[in-house]
Point group: D2
């Protein structure tokens, strides 16, 4: 069974800024999708901010096993209704890979329940991404560390919940550290945040970074059927209780009535 991926990109820097365009002439999404397709078990499409519904229609999302998210300067332009639609799909079981500046995207903040803030510096300094859980499937084939000769510094404290697993921790030349690879589950969906990816450096052309992306996509794919109705709180009537019981005590609800939302 193939893993169907949609790579979402804001796709603004590449059109507006010469430095970025030189690095990603077809957009970050195109580079990432091409990297994913090197795994024959991955089918990768793309979507961008300026498309109708940002390219994330209900139909597209229903056929997406894993969504990859890259955004930076236009988080605020993503429609709330699309954010909710994506969140719903994650709860139903769609995987989500949030990249780099996506830490401040609406969807990541929505799913974390925290500010997702951090410290940053754009100095082109060296970053060493240590695989602290090197046998984790997301770190497969990476070795002990992945080195980015030029990177943007992202520093702790990183305001996210305690993760399920810490896969990568980064060292920066300028003196900071960052938990740069973190896993979460929200509803039935698996989430991986990966810190690497500043747009002015050719980070998504790096073969190790590409390997992490492929690994992460495979890991995030939950083959369970979509959990439709995951957000609902169904009443389980007395007559359908697993063990036989009878009504006792006071009640607010008439029989069979829906609960409050």
């Amino acid at each position: 069974m193939a893993t169907r991926v949609t790579v979402w990109n804001e796709f603004l820097h590449e059109r507006e800024n010469a430095v970025v365009r030189d690095v990603y002439p077809d957009g970050i999404h195109a580079t990432i999708a091409a990297a994913l397709r090197q795994d024959s078990g991955i089918e990768a499409g793309t979507a961008t901010l300026d498309q109708p519904e940002h390219g994330l229609s209900a139909d597209t999302l229903s056929r997406t096993d894993v969504l990859v998210w890259w955004g930076h300067k236009a988080h605020g332009r993503v429609e709330d209704s699309v954010v909710e639609r994506v969140a719903q799909r994650v709860w139903e079981g769609m995987g989500l890979i949030v990249l780099h500046s996506g830490h401040f995207s609406k969807i990541f903040k929505r799913l974390m329940g925290t500010p997702c803030s951090l410290r940053w510096r754009e100095a082109g300094e060296r970053e060493r991404v240590w695989a602290i859980n090197p046998s984790h499937p997301i770190a497969h084939g990476i070795g002990e560390a992945l080195v980015l000769e030029n990177s943007e510094m992202y520093g702790e404290p990183f305001l996210v919940p305690e993760p399920l697993e810490t896969v990568f921790v980064s060292w920066y030349q300028g003196g900071e550290v960052f938990r740069s690879g973190l896993t979460y589950q929200r509803g039935a969906g698996r989430i991986f945040y990966f810190g690497a990816g500043h747009e002015t450096y050719p980070i998504y052309h790096d073969k190790d970074v590409q390997q992490v992306l492929r690994n992460a996509v495979r890991w995030a794919h939950n083959p369970a059927p979509a959990w439709v109705g995951v957000e609902q709180a169904p009443n389980r009537p007395i007559g359908k209780a697993p063990e036989p019981i009878e009504q006792r005590g006071g009640s607010l609800h008439a029989a069979g009535e829906a609960g409050f939302k």
Copy 2:
């Protein structure tokens, strides 16, 4: 140092429904606040939905160490701006105790990033709340289990993130189980969800439940100074890097420029 608590209650059932009014003539908030005040180190005030700003002004929240939340039928009437204000205070370090039907409150869903859905049945059946982590401060003095002779069933799956700690797990007469005591951290704030508390039964008059509430309030109080600005991502300029570094590679930002939000 006293722990300053604000007990928030929707306060609708008690005024509209005779069954509930009989159990809580002055409102659930009054009963809970009185129970908390049995600990001389706790100062408890109250706030309700119909007050201006739902009784949760910036000033009140700034003087609140721990907020207790009970709501049920009017989650949708809580203003989003107040929800965001409460979330911000939690990130800054305010503790939050979410009770029973508060699982579907805007603030709990906001901080969890999940639907917080569950199964339910109002049959007045017996619930046995097992202290599965009996040496946890929140379970102090409870013994192996707390028994509620009449309770509303809340059943798994409960759509919340994996907790930091599972303190209580409930057994129901009708055959279900529920993780009824869960801890989380969001930003600097500690959160405890406690399942007990259906409004038609005298659950907040139970001495063991009251003990759990006092324990939880004490546990959730983070004495660290409020983390003002927790939601911001400050630039750390090259000249202020902990280790001396120089600018290298391409850049998108002019020197000293603010980051994107």
Copy 3:
């Protein structure tokens, strides 16, 4: 790539007790191995206490991707050297499924670092194993709960560390609850504890239980190369530091000297 499993069984009750022999004439291990082989991607062998090295030679373990463990009355007869060998293989990446009374096995206590104690009652009462994380790969195909009409009660508190994930929580007719499906990682190895399996009831003949076992084996298989030397703390000499540094301050060690153990 097939998953190579070794099913280990104490294999005493089945030979000594008529009730158990009637349920498992060829031993619990034979029943489990047969159930696993229903998945064509699983190759299952067996090993028992009375074999040389308890059937767990270094060679056998080196060719085992996942070890399944059932023991009850003879935990103390398992040689410590074999326990250490198994622990080492788990750290290197071998998966481990610990079943039922295996909670008190040397290997489980060794890897948990806790007493692994619990409460128990052998009354043949009904157990309802709720899939509280129903989209987890281990719960695949189970539905909302798995019902065991006759089961031994295992009750909380269960003295294990907070798990990575809670997959199943059990309800018992007699009033108790139990976290009956828990995941852990130790070194590179994934561990799943599963509570079902008292020897006097035909629990491993249940098709849902068999499904969980197949799921768990698949989940626990870490395809990463064995992490040989996982237990060692290698010196990284100054000349091989990732960043150039020079010796400063006092030193206890002569150059190139091994560390203390």
Copy 4:
């Protein structure tokens, strides 16, 4: 209620090595105990390897709320019976602070269930201990980072289980990172591992390090009564089940019989 601490030290380097003796003329334990006593709520005693029972008699441990552990070259000389006694006390509720090279102590490996291995280099390089969870009680008063001008490098991967909380992550001049402040719970006992403390540098004379030690001791103190019998698995007879049930199905045990160990 005062927190009663026992500071345990191997106390060999200070007597055998001139460099270490110059830094800690009375032993590391004496320096740490003096630092703890700056908090008037802490009563600190000491114990060392060469004392009878390593200074850790049952009586001493029964009067110890938190044990601090420093060892390096003689882990193997600590009697297994004393290790088991300490583990039992941790499960009963005693706090444990494991320092620096104590990562390879018998007691830490015993409680983690993992090799606790890491990479190391003794170059006197700079270490920056970032408080990544700065509002955690253990980081109280530390600021964003604690700087050790000369430190031994401890590098990832650090073979411990996923922690409950990651409080500190260290940056090293030579290019590595390390999770240098981790919390765990084992039984009723809270455990904190803190990486700082190489014996040839004056690290325990640092005021910030001393603050962390005081914070950690306060955090690790569980005021709950000692959980005597935490390691036992008591039978809960049918007649004492919380809900009335009757014996059904086959049985291995005679009525009232003890379980297998």
